[in-house]
Symmetry: C2
Subunit: 197 residues, 2 copies
């Protein structure tokens, strides 16, 4: 059985993720990953014998990296907790949106590519499901902030949907990211979510 060296595995999966973003799902082939990762032709095919496994590995990897990064981000956000809950939530989400749409833009492009491919590839859908779980678990702070701000239950999943949708529009949209525009967007999202009955 192949696929044994964990370091190589992750490196190949990372290369696959990057390839997904810059070349699309269609550009993710065993040989293309080999070239991108500067390993001999055939290596990727040894670690991920089928294309399903290759794409699922990319999905798992992107979830793994995302989880690792968001844990530190949450810790930092939890550090400063004072006053105006809704305002803090707005600040947090606006900053999060901007960095997601700029610094991590290629990562989300890859995620969207995989998300669409998952429509016709059940194994990929399973791998991507973990990403949604992360997003939900990630919003414990959001729960508290909204509860403090007097929002009804059900406001959190609503906010998550609005946030995720806005991120897609920003990432795939034409223009550069305008922080002021993002700020207004988040204000509208939070206000709207709080007002829901």
């Amino acid at each position: 059985m192949p696929r044994t060296n964990p370091r190589r595995r992750d490196a190949l999966a990372d290369a696959a993720v990057e390839l997904t973003a810059v070349a699309g799902v269609g550009g993710v082939t065993h040989r293309a990953v080999d070239r991108a990762a500067h390993v001999p032709i055939g290596t990727t095919a040894n670690y991920f014998p089928s294309r399903d496994e290759l794409l699922s590995a990319a999905a798992h990897r992107v979830a793994e990296v995302h989880l690792a990064e968001s844990m530190t981000a949450t810790a930092a956000a939890a550090a400063n907790q004072a006053g105006d809950a809704a305002g803090q939530l707005t600040d947090l989400l606006a900053a999060s949106l901007v960095t997601a749409a700029t610094t991590h833009r290629t990562r989300y492009l890859a995620i969207y590519e995989l998300q669409l491919e998952a429509q016709r590839r059940p194994a990929l859908a399973g791998a991507l499901a973990k990403l949604s779980e992360i997003a939900e678990a990630q919003t414990q702070a959001m729960h508290l902030a909204l509860r403090d701000a007097g929002a009804p239950p059900g406001a959190v999943p609503l906010l998550i949907t609005l946030y995720g949708g806005a991120l897609f529009m920003l990432v795939t949209g034409p223009g550069p990211i305008d922080a002021a525009v993002v700020r207004r967007l988040v204000e509208a999202m939070v206000t709207g979510a709080r007002s829901t009955g």
Copy 2:
């Protein structure tokens, strides 16, 4: 020069759009379109000599069909105009979201596929730009309704972004479309957009 019979052209482009939705951009090949449209192998290659032209034709076609349909929808919506502007807008958007995410789901899947492919295919980006123009022109009624409801300028593009993002989440999300959830989503969007300063 090929590509002459307009009816055949549209039929091939339609087949390309459907293929984009069910097989992804990567599945849209000359021969695959031939098979899907039940025409002899080689036909699509005669009408759209390069892959760029083929995908761009699919984008143009999806915009064309979308425009034709949305014009009748707008006419119907403009028919009943009375009272409570914001409430009417909410009704209109909620109904629009539901049909977009259910009846026209495959169309939007195709659009998202093409949108991502356009990131690395300038010709496609140009073809898709017309879709955004349609969406903006489509919102004259939205402008009026929001103005009547005392919303600030800039609320309309904000609402369009929220709407487009929510549609993506609904179309690519796992579960079926729940009309009540969509309703709450739209209420939050409209409330949020109106409150923006």
